[in-house]
């Protein structure tokens, strides 16, 4: 049996297990056990993948399984991984693992909460391993829709509004994707063969130019909505701010990556000529997004909004890098997805923990927290430094690679937008250091804060896992970037062909 099936089966079994649990504690324990297995499984998959590659297996896709699902429409259940999707699987399992522990003290309808959370993660795993556009889309929607309940029931602030806004905007994006997918499907056999949703087969077909020009924007914008493409990012700050901790983590950490991954795997890979023609529009939009997100974060006082805008900026950088169409920048894009995924999950976890203690998320109301909760404060500083791209952490590796790759384009347009995008690093430093300075250092301004205790074991486990991820990538990035670069091969090849 294909090991990838376990990525779907374990969450499903965990959900079934949760249904049979009695009290809150059992729910948590079952979820934790399930997601621990999932984390171990991902590690095994990554190691096995690397071992196969080292053994000289150069197949484009490893662990492939292909089953016919709807025969008349030639819809397959086709799964398999390459270097990029393996990396995304690793990211997802780390974040969901940390997310379970970050929501350890959930007491309102915990069973439903964990079921929705794990269902969401199952959708994400399914999305990353799918190689058939139909199943990919199916998992995409499965990943998006639990969000409504998760934010609406367990959220805070204007949660009903945020949940509805987020769901409708993301589903609006998926509406565009749907049309794009149908366009790909009905153009997948220009020579009159059987139509197909198979990504690999479509990538070997020359899709007519006018179709590419029509469907590329649909697909790119459709996935871009989830990847916080400016100006379709507006769901993100509201959604993240209202969502409960684990949901913010999972959403910013993983779900937004579905957008970037979709843009890369579907829009750019399958419609390269269209991408080349129209890239300039989206490069401008993403460059705006990078700067806009960073400036927006400076302007905010609410910790969650700061991090949400920072996510907009970082995710826009992912899309920006994908549109650079060269190996270096695209490797950077995938690295940035992983790096930002772990980093932002860390931030949201910490924000949830800080809020649980201080009962405020406004930066200017807090001060001197370093003295009372050193562990969480240090973790926040680590996350901050990674976010602003300090060498030694994952953020530096990713952003550096992106800007180097982007600057390889000799023409003035690319150079200018790269400079603009790169200048966001300065803005990032401003909002990170400002928050760290105001919130963590200085005198304690509220006597209640003296009573704050530091992180509990499950909070340490959650944040510790994420910090380990950030530093591990920062210190030893090569295995990851090599794996990703190898995975990018077919895409780059196709892009180069389309240029001539």
């Amino acid at each position: 049996m294909n090991i990838l099936f376990l990525l779907i089966i374990i969450p499903v079994l965990t959900i079934i297990g949760i249904l049979f649990t009695g009290d809150n504690k059992q729910v948590r324990v079952v979820s934790a056990i399930g997601m621990t297995f999932q984390l171990i499984l991902s590690a095994i998959i990554i190691l096995w993948f690397l071992a196969e590659r080292n053994a000289g297996n150069t197949a484009e896709i490893l662990f492939a399984s292909n089953y016919v699902w709807y025969e008349t429409l030639n819809i397959h259940f086709f799964i398999g991984v390459d270097g990029v999707s393996v990396a995304m699987i690793g990211l997802t399992s780390i974040v969901i693992f940390a997310g379970i522990f970050a929501s350890w003290d959930m007491d309102d309808l915990p069973r439903e909460f964990f079921i929705s959370l794990i269902l969401l993660s199952a959708g994400v795993f399914g999305f990353f391993i799918s190689l058939d556009l139909f199943t990919m889309f199916l998992f995409y929607e499965i990943a998006v829709i639990p969000m409504y309940l998760l934010i609406g029931i367990w959220g805070s602030g204007p949660r009903h509004y945020s949940a509805m806004k987020l769901t409708l905007m993301l589903m609006g994006g998926s509406a565009l994707i749907l049309v794009g997918l149908l366009g790909l499907y009905f153009n997948s056999a220009p020579d009159g063969g059987p139509l197909t949703f198979d990504i690999l087969e479509i990538s070997r077909v020359q899709i007519p130019m006018n179709a590419q020009l029509f469907f590329f924007p649909l697909l790119f914008v459709g996935f871009g909505v989830l990847g916080a493409l400016f100006p379709f990012h507006t769901w993100s700050p509201d959604g993240h701010a209202s969502a409960p901790t684990a949901v913010s983590m999972l959403h910013a950490g993983v779900l937004m990556k579905l957008g970037g991954y979709g843009c890369y795997r579907v829009a750019v890979f399958l419609l390269p000529e269209g991408a080349h023609e129209l890239a300039w529009i989206f490069i401008i939009l993403t460059a705006i997004g990078v700067i806009y997100g960073a400036l927006g974060a400076i302007w905010q006082k609410d910790l969650k909004y700061i991090n949400a805008y920072s996510s907009v900026s970082h995710c826009a950088l992912v899309l920006f890098a994908i549109l650079m169409f060269n190996e270096t920048a695209m490797t950077g894009a995938i690295m940035q997805m992983i790096s930002h995924g772990i980093m932002t999950a860390l931030f949201f976890a910490l924000i949830g923990m800080i809020y649980g203690r201080t009962h405020t998320r406004y930066v200017n109301e807090m001060s001197g927290l370093m003295k009372v909760m050193p562990f969480l404060a240090v973790a926040y500083v680590v996350g901050g430094l990674a976010s602003l791209g300090l060498p030694g952490f994952s953020g530096f590796v990713a952003e550096m690679t992106i800007f180097v790759g982007a600057f390889q384009h000799p023409d003035i347009f690319h150079r200018v937008v790269t400079l603009i995008a790169a200048s966001s690093i300065v803005a990032t430093a401003v909002y990170i250091l400002r928050v760290v300075g105001m919130m963590l250092f200085g005198k304690i301004n509220n006597p209640d804060y003296e009573l704050i205790t530091d992180a509990k074991w499950y909070e340490r486990l959650s944040t510790g896992t994420l910090i380990f991820g950030i530093t591990a990538i920062g210190i030893a990035p090569l295995w990851l970037s090599n794996m990703i670069t190898a995975g990018l091969g077919p895409v780059i090849h196709k892009l180069l062909l389309s240029m001539n």
Binding site: Y70, E141, G172, F186
Partner: protein, 471 residues
């Protein structure tokens, strides 16, 4: 043996006659006892329908049975069976006890009418079936005659049906006038798009549009749906509409296939109008019955996307979607019916906090609504996807885009109900109650259908092998 060709209808007639006889001899205080035997009888007929049997023509080609019509009839009987299960609780009410067998007889007569309509081989048979399917429904809509709204619904339904039948008949008479025959197989060759035939088609289409409640012929729908007893509403919006859609599809694909260029524009425009207007009105509804009424108008618009494909994909998908739609809508209506029978509450606001008191009902409702909205993994997703594919196959990407954006609007109002049930809190939520066994069985069938029909692809393939090449 020849009569086996008509076995569906004959068996139904048989049950109806048995029920009529029993009704005569049964003392008034024991009428409630008829429910279970009637259900069992109908269940047996439903199962018998699935046994393969002879196909062919009767009465000189006026009546045709093909594997396709058998399939459609089976789909309808399954739907009617669920409706029956969901009505038991309501029939046991004090005020309805006297009329239990009437309910069964009337509903079965409409079903017989629909089956004759689906099997019709000429326009006369088609018209007879259509009328038989419609007139008892007016009586059923006015079933709760002590309620003003129910009586109003009955009158509205009979008037609009009469009007639409008149329009339809006028169209048919013009077809007869230009072609000189009513047999489908002969009409096909006679239709060439002459001006009078275009007029005839418009009349015919308008008449059918009334029955399917397609915009702009939808105005009767909301009032009738709101006033009629809830089980009749679900019957109207699911079975009756489903049958009308299927026969319209068959007629457009066969009889009017040569003039497709003529009807495609009509379907294109009405599809957009129906989806959009149905959705926009559904957003504003506070009463769940009206809400589902407008949502079912919008769904009809989506079905037109499959019709416009005029391909095997389109035909299969229309039938597949009707099947999915039966389970989704009956699931939603089933929950509304259960709650309405027990508490009399029918407003969306009344459902605030329902999940915390009645989790199973809320989950059923959510799955049914997600299926209507086309959210995976429930069957509605597959149905919608294939409908869009059928339209995209013809290159109608703009239409698909409009339709897909309409699903987002529809998702908004379906989520409003989900929001009421799951997100909102209420001081006085609907209290916990245990629904009756029959309703639960009905809802369980719906859920099973919703989950299985999508993921289990052989159902689609099974439908696919019968479609096209009909007649």
């Amino acid at each position: 043996m020849l009569m086996l060709i008509m076995r569906h209808e004959l068996l139904l007639v048989l049950i109806t006659v048995i029920l009529l006889l029993v009704e005569i001899f049964l003392p008034a205080d024991r009428k409630q006892k008829i429910i279970l035997p009637a259900l069992i009888l109908f269940g047996v007929v439903m199962i018998l329908g699935f046994i393969p049997g002879p196909t062919g023509r009767l009465f000189g080609g006026m009546y045709i049975t093909t594997p396709l019509t058998l399939l459609m009839k089976n789909i309808l009987t399954v739907g009617v069976f669920i409706v029956f299960l969901q009505s038991v609780d309501w029939l046991k009410k004090e005020e309805n006890r006297e009329k239990i067998s009437e309910y069964f007889i009337l509903l079965l007569s409409t079903l017989i009418g629909m089956e004759y309509m689906l099997s019709s081989g000429d326009f006369l048979m088609f018209y007879l079936g259509l009328e038989l399917a419609t007139i008892p429904l007016a009586a059923l809509a006015a079933f709760e005659r002590f309620k003003e709204k129910s009586a109003e619904a009955g009158v509205k339904l009979i008037f609009t049906s009469a009007l639409s039948s008149g329009i339809l008949l006028y169209g048919l008479s013009m077809i007869y006038g230009t072609v000189g025959t009513l047999y489908f197989s002969d009409v096909v060759n006679g239709i060439n798009g002459a001006p009078l035939q275009i007029l005839a088609f418009i009349f015919f289409f308008a008449g059918m549009a009334f029955k399917i409640s397609v915009v702009p012929f939808h105005l009767w729908t909301a009032d009738v749906y709101e006033g009629a007893p809830i089980n009749i509403t679900s019957y109207l919006s699911v079975i009756s509409k489903g049958a009308a859609v299927m026969i319209l599809t068959i007629l457009l694909f066969t009889v009017f296939s040569k003039v497709a260029i003529m009807w495609k524009d009509v379907v294109y425009v009405t599809a957009i109008l129906t989806m959009t207007i149905g959705n926009l009105f559904a957003m504003r509804q506070k009463n769940l019955k009206r809400f589902l009424a407008f949502s079912s108008i919008a769904q009809a618009g989506f079905i037109f996307l499959g019709i416009i494909g005029q391909s095997q994909l389109g035909m299969t998908t229309v039938i597949y979607f009707v099947l999915v739609y039966i389970f989704s809508n009956l699931g939603a209506f089933g929950v509304v019916a259960v709650i309405s029978n027990r508490t009399g509450k029918e407003k969306i606001d009344d459902y605030d906090g329902l999940y915390r008191t009645n989790p199973m009902l809320s989950l059923t409702m959510m799955l049914a609504l997600f299926s209507l909205a086309g959210i995976p993994p429930v069957a509605g997703f597959f149905g919608k996807f294939f409908l869009f594919a059928a339209a995209a196959q013809q290159g109608l990407y703009i239409l698909v885009l409009i339709a897909v954006l309409n699903t987002i609007i529809s998702l908004y109002y379906y989520l409003l109900v989900v929001k009421a049930m799951f997100l909102n809190r209420s001081d006085r939520p609907i209290e916990y109650f245990k629904s009756d066994g029959y309703s639960r069985l009905g809802l369980a069938i719906c859920i099973a259908g919703l989950v299985i029909i999508g993921i289990y692809s052989p159902i689609y393939e099974f439908i696919n092998q019968f479609t096209f090449g009909i007649y």
